[in-house]
């Protein structure tokens, strides 16, 4: 585990460098963006000075990373360029972070049991109608990008049936849960787009496990089928499934960026997209880094769960 933690830390460090370099080489910066057509070189230079953009890149990097590690996400470059003394990123993203988390958690809440359940179902009935039905449905769903799925859902449930709200406007400070109907379509879009991958891989893992010798042996020892499925097949299929699900959750992050834009959902994804457009480096760097942290954490947690599930891995090799 120690090695994994170290690996995660190294990954994050490299990711931070990549993010920092990536965002620093962007042509133009918040200063010129804020100034817009009015940006004379002198004005840009003055603003850059205010924003410490004139300091060496390494200094900027260490300041930023140091702050990040201590929970200080830094300032919004746009805010600084607008002349504000402090424009803490955290104040900008606290609501979006909360909203995105709620969206992701609710999706995960459905996704995990559904992928496991449907995947296992398809595996147990492999080759039979139930399996085919699940496979075909999941194939159809993965074939489309989220924004098409989202648009189609809106077409059906708002334009045609008029039963669900097509956008999810959440007033600041209010929880998305205060009107759960607004979450239905975004969650459904994410589920449709992500579930298929989970189902298919859980199914594959489960099919393999069901063919394992120990499952046959358990059956030949007269163990009940339910016992065999849960204690023998599922338990061992779960370990690879956990990694699949972790990957799916990671993938969800990409899906959320698109889905939030489609449904005007005030989350981290839509904030990131506008921040990239605005060259708000402070926000882009911190949000990107936060996402990278979540990404790596998901891997770590998945590894941890797999360790718990697979006794063999618990010992030093």
């Amino acid at each position: 585990m120690g090695r994994r933690l170290l690996g995660a830390a190294v990954s994050l460090l490299v990711a931070s460098v990549l993010i920092f370099i990536g965002t620093s080489v962007l042509p133009g910066n918040a200063a010129s963006v804020v100034l817009g057509r009015g940006a004379t070189p002198a004005a840009v230079q003055k603003l850059e000075q205010q924003m410490h953009l004139n300091k060496p890149l390494t200094t900027q990097y260490t300041n930023w990373l140091g702050g990040f590690v201590h929970g200080d996400l830094g300032d919004s470059s746009i805010g600084l360029a607008q002349g504000q003394k402090h424009a803490p990123v955290w104040a900008l993203i606290s609501d979006p972070v909360k909203n995105s988390l709620i969206l992701a958690l609710i999706t995960a809440l459905f996704m995990i049991p559904l992928s496991l359940g449907l995947g296992a179902l398809a595996a147990v009935y492999a080759g039979r109608p139930a399996d085919h039905a699940i496979s075909i449905m999941s194939l159809a769903a993965i074939a489309l990008p989220e924004f098409v799925i989202g648009s189609l859902l809106v077409g059906v449930f708002f334009v045609w049936l008029d039963v669900l709200p097509p956008v999810a406007i959440i007033p600041p400070g209010q929880s998305p849960l205060s009107d759960p109907t607004k979450l239905i379509l975004p969650v459904a879009t994410l589920l449709l787009a992500s579930l298929a991958a989970g189902i298919r891989m859980v199914r594959a893992g489960m099919v393999e496990t069901l063919q394992a010798e120990y499952v046959m042996a358990a059956r030949l020892n007269g163990l009940s089928e339910r016992w065999v499925l849960w204690r023998y097949a599922m338990r061992n299929a779960l370990a690879p499934s956990v990694q699949v699900l972790a990957q799916n959750l990671q993938w969800l992050i990409g899906g959320i960026i698109i889905t939030e834009t489609v449904f005007a959902y005030p989350g981290l994804g839509s904030l990131l997209v506008t921040a990239v457009g605005n060259r708000d480096l402070g926000v882009v760097q911190s949000v990107a880094m936060l996402i990278a942290v979540v990404y790596v954490m998901l891997n770590l947690v998945a590894d941890l769960i797999v360790l718990l599930l697979v006794p063999k891995l618990r010992e030093p090799a």
């Binding site: 406007i169 904030l271 506008t274």
Partner: protein, 542 residues
């Protein structure tokens, strides 16, 4: 107001002919989502307020008081600001216009009326003005508005950080501004300007209170008072019970919502999550005019959409090539397809409907044969050029696509290069370096456009136009106090641009917005979207 231009001190109020509209003068790369939505800015009042199709309803009925009006705009993300001297996007404008007041207001027929100022009185040479202010106006915090507030505002506008307002006060001798009494300000100028009042209708120039610093809790004299603001998300405002226009506003609360995606904004309107949306895509506007499930608000406007050619870059250094390109464009087809007919056909000069616009110039029409022969003369048969465009405004990519098609007939190959909206107006990236590109101007006045885009010191000289004689002519026109002479001079200025300039103006595009059918009182207004943001006129029925 039949003779709009001349300041007539004795009549006070009716001095000024035209008003500047609102709109983004200086829009930057800022403000918009990565491309899905236009950064639309407002433009200035042109002619009529007529609207195609459905229009805002019955002002005849008695307004009902109360309720919350929720308006959706393209958001500006974290770049959204309450500082009206820095704002560039419609959503910034929507807040500023309702928190603050102008010295002069724009009427729906593009005349001006008294706002916080009652009179703009110039001396004979038009080198010094005296502004008479409306007495008894109170800020939201109870302080009385007066001359010191105007002086403070003008000096704040000139601060370099407030880039959006700087150009408007560039001709004023700020050092010698003087409060003659509590409601009178003396304004000396650096060069003659026959129409100073026109500078103070545009929203980047509205009045703040003496001492305003960071706009985190802005205090104005406007119809609504600041409540909350979350950049990129939502802001709320409370009704100003002491507003000087008695009885207004009608609604208790105003909510401004950022929704970047055009589709989402329309869906929010249709599903009742907002009551009004700015910038309804023209195709949707057409569809909903037919169904009538929402009110489509259409206002004619002088918002110019143009292709421009850099007169210092080959092949556009040759005036014949520029003329040929102007002849290639099929303007009616562009208007019909690129913006679904929501606009009038452009005539290569800016500001249709504004005072001093030269209406005598013949309408330019497509003439492929003439274009071909001009190109042949210039030795540029089989010309190949690259046209830079961006989805930064609706109709940009569409019109560029169509122009490329139309050019094929003249043997000209136009390759399109699309850049992200965020980079389009970025001077450190491509802006002002492109040989052939698209642009949009919502000029508050013709004077303003020529100063900003074509004069010898113009900061945004997209066509790199340099002509000393023409420049002298321009300043002569600006300072000319005689209406008829001024019009003549302005016509000369515009004719030269029409014949030789680098702009191909294909349309003056309408403002097109959507309203819930229960929203009443908002009338089409040439100066800006959603009835020029005059939410104090709006009320909710049922």
């Amino acid at each position: 107001m039949s003779d709009p231009h001349n300041p007539r001190p004795e009549t006070g109020i009716e001095l000024f002919d035209h008003r500047i509209s609102r709109g983004t003068l200086l829009r930057g790369a800022a403000g918009t989502m990565l491309g899905m939505s236009p950064l639309l800015a407002a433009a200035c009042g042109g002619g009529s307020t007529s609207s195609t199709g459905t229009s805002a309803s019955t002002s005849a009925a008695t307004p009902v008081k109360g309720g919350t009006l929720r308006a959706g705009f393209v958001g500006g993300g974290t770049a959204e600001t309450l500082n009206l001297y820095q704002g560039v996007t419609p959503i910034d404008e929507s807040r500023a216009q309702n928190l603050f007041d102008p010295l002069l207001v724009v009427n729906p027929d593009l005349t001006t009326g008294p706002g916080l100022a009652l009179e703009f009185n110039a001396n004979a040479a038009a080198t010094e003005y005296e502004i008479k202010l409306r007495p008894g106006v109170e800020f939201h915090n109870g302080k009385t508005f007066g001359a010191e507030d105007v002086i403070y505002s003008m000096r704040l506008m000139a601060k370099s950080a407030n880039f959006a307002s700087v150009p408007f006060v560039a001709g004023i001798n700020l050092k010698d501004l003087k409060a003659i009494d509590a409601t009178t300000v003396k304004v000396p100028l650096l060069y003659p300007d026959a129409d100073l009042g026109a500078n103070f209708v545009y929203w980047n120039t509205w009045m703040v209170q003496n001492g305003e610093k960071d706009f985190t809790n802005p205090v104005g004299t406007g119809p609504f008072m600041f409540d909350t603001f979350k950049a990129g998300t939502q802001s709320t405002f409370k009704r100003n019970p002491n507003y000087w226009q008695t009885g207004k506003p009608y609604v208790d609360e105003l909510l401004i919502q950022s929704i970047d995606d055009n589709n989402a904004r329309l869906e929010a309107l249709q599903s009742g999550q907002i009551d009004a949306m700015a910038q309804l895509p023209t195709a949707d506007a057409k569809a909903h005019q037919a169904t009538g499930d929402i009110t489509v608000l259409v206002a004619k406007s002088p918002q110019a959409m143009m292709f421009y050619m850099d007169t210092t870059q080959a092949p556009f250094t040759d005036v014949r090539v520029r003329q040929a390109m102007k002849l290639i464009a099929d303007r009616p087809a562009l208007v019909a397809s690129a913006i679904n007919g929501f606009g009038s056909i452009g005539n290569d000069i800016v500001g249709k409907g504004l005072p001093f616009y030269d209406n005598s110039l013949p309408q330019r029409v497509q003439d492929i044969e003439q274009a071909k022969s001009l190109l042949k003369q210039a030795g540029q048969e089989n010309l190949t050029v690259t046209l830079q465009t961006s989805p930064i405004f609706p109709g940009f990519v569409e019109s560029a696509t169509l122009l490329a098609q139309q050019a094929k007939d003249a043997g000209v190959t136009i390759n399109l290069k699309q850049v992200p909206p965020s980079a389009y107006y970025n001077p450190s990236a491509l802006y002002l370096k492109m040989a052939f590109a698209e642009t949009q101007w919502p000029p508050p006045s013709i004077k303003f456009f020529y100063l900003q885009a074509l004069s010898s010191k113009a900061p945004y000289n997209e066509t790199h136009w340099k002509n000393t004689a023409w420049n002298d002519l321009l300043f002569k026109a600006i300072g000319e106090t005689d209406q008829a002479t001024a019009q003549q001079t302005w016509n000369q200025v515009q004719k030269i641009q029409y014949d030789q300039g680098g702009y191909i103006n294909w349309t003056n595009a309408d403002w097109v917005d959507g309203l819930s059918t229960k929203v009443k009182g908002l009338e089409p207004h040439p100066a800006g979207v959603l009835g020029n943001y005059l939410f104090m006129n709006a009320w909710l029925s049922g």
